[in-house]
């Protein structure tokens, strides 16, 4: 009874609390990282006034948003208007419940037996993440609709079309990984890469490209940031949101970036594995804890996100649809065939 209490209640609650805290903190500092990285790309300094070298900037931003007046437009659909930020934030955070960022660990011998640091490992984790992140789109649509603002509405419609379109090639790209890993469990996918002596980005380079492009589109980031295209739609679906509700939309975007990057790391770059996990003479790399390897890989993807933002103009709506339907979907289908044939040939 006592052991069961610890195992099923205490440990998960502690894990959830820690992960939630870490994720939120990381997300807050992602905004800081983005501003700094963009600044250096754009011959300027970025935030450098709050705290040493500007390191307290996200805290200040958070405080500011927290104490800001929370406006609800008089003509807004109030209940939906309040629900929308939650509907986008919660799925984004839920996805982290299944993301394995490190293997089971004894935490340097502090624990009696090795426990996995992630919340849970379910055998349909990949489907779970895909499904849960699809819910996020409702937050955007409802937020755009309930604001009773034409710019918001157009932003909402754009994101609906965009997310639905890009989920299709994304799904096909993921199936290619499934074929290689033969499992939907994210932990199993990482282990399959260890067993195959090969990270999946080598055979799945096309799938990786498709997946990441779709991921950028799913998170409404440049060059696919049409739903909130500032120069066209003012701020798109969150035009009318202020204060903490705006912060939810904002944080959800960064959380989703983190989810997409984490998934990319797990599916294509061996998750927490060190480079060349089976080459013995490189075992000194094992000194670095797996979670750091994971973080480094995720950071690489996040950097690409920011790099995109610093480089690309924005697609137009019809061009975005064209890229999705005319290029990515056929390409992802072709990739599926190629990978499937390859898997058949290699594994028999």
């Amino acid at each position: 009874m006592h052991a069961a209490l610890i195992q099923f209640i205490v440990i998960p609650v502690v894990k959830i609390a820690v992960i939630l805290g870490v994720v939120l903190l990381v997300v807050a500092y992602l905004t800081f990282a983005e501003r700094k990285i963009l600044a250096y790309m754009q011959v300027r300094l970025g935030p450098n006034r709050v705290g040493p070298k500007g390191w307290l900037q996200p805290i200040a931003d958070g405080l500011k948003l927290f104490v800001k007046e929370d406006l609800i437009p008089a003509k807004a659909e109030k209940a939906v208007f309040l629900l929308a930020p939650a509907m986008i934030m919660i799925p984004a955070l839920l996805a982290f419940s299944v993301i394995p960022f490190a293997p089971a660990t004894k935490l340097f011998g502090l624990l009696p037996k090795a426990i996995p640091p992630y919340v849970t490992d379910i055998n349909i984790a990949l489907l779970f993440v895909l499904g849960i992140s699809s819910i996020g789109v409702y937050g955007i649509i409802l937020g755009g609709w309930s604001s009773n603002n034409k710019f918001s509405l157009m932003g909402g419609l754009r994101s609906a079309a965009q997310m639905v379109s890009y989920e299709v090639p994304m799904g096909f790209a993921i199936i290619a990984v499934l074929l290689m890993a033969r499992s939907l469990s994210l932990v199993q996918i990482v282990k399959a890469q260890q067993a195959a002596h090969l990270w999946f980005f080598v055979p799945g380079i096309l799938a990786l490209g498709i997946y990441f492009i779709c991921g950028v589109a799913e998170t409404n980031r440049n060059p696919f940031d049409l739903p909130e295209a500032e120069s066209e739609l003012v701020a798109g679906f969150h035009t009318e949101y202020s204060g903490m509700k705006f912060a939810f939309f904002f944080l959800a975007e960064y959380t989703n970036m983190l989810v997409v990057s984490s998934l990319a790391t797990i599916m294509f770059f061996g998750g927490w594995l060190r480079p060349f996990p089976n080459v013995a003479w490189l075992s000194f790399l094992g000194v670095v804890p797996p979670v750091i390897w994971f973080a480094v890989k995720v950071a690489g993807f996040i950097f690409v996100y920011m790099w995109f933002r610093g480089t690309f103009p924005r697609y137009r709506f019809d061009q975005l649809m064209q890229v999705g339907w005319k290029w990515l979907i056929p390409l992802s289908l072709a990739n599926l065939v190629i990978v499937g044939a390859g898997v058949l040939l290699v594994k028999g």
Partner: protein, 213 residues
Amino acid sequence: MTDEKNTPKPEDQGAAPKSQPEAKPPWLDKPVPPVHVDAMDDPDVTALAAAVEDAVLAADAFAGEVTITIDPAKLIDACRFLKQERGFKFLVDLTAVDWPEREEGRFDVVYWMHRFDDSRRIRVRIIVGEETSVPSVTGVWKTSNWMEREVYDMFGIVFDGHPNLERILLWEGFNGHPLRKDFPVEGIDTGAAVQPDVYPEGGGPLVEEEGGA
């Protein structure tokens, strides 16, 4: 639109001739203002006079710019002729001048047009009274649309046949025409005074029932 036509130096605009071998450079001399000369024998004027009967009332050249005063009733014919036969395809500017004291008519309406072939510009002027309307040249040059609206807005001159003669810089309901000489420079009381039914008493922002985007 080739380079050749950039070479003949037109005398009707720009700086005066430079570096003449004189004792005193021109910029230290007393400036010599341009004078008015009769331009009835200008080829464009004679062509216009021949083509559209009784159109040309006077022609004058000042600072190298030919101004043809024409009969307002013949305006459209004259403009069409100048555009189609004489190549003045480009209407550069259209504006008006208010002369409240003048007997012949209160307003000058001025058309300033350009020919690309030899980079020549001429000005057509009509004199109209306060009550008379002016035929619109929107059918001749599309670009005159907003220019005529501006003249209407600023002077209150009505253009007949204009597709959309609305105020352009000021709002519908504004009382008066600011560029008329009798409009005070310091302005008039607007807003609440002009549209008491729309604006709340004592001014303040416009409040409407149906809020849009």
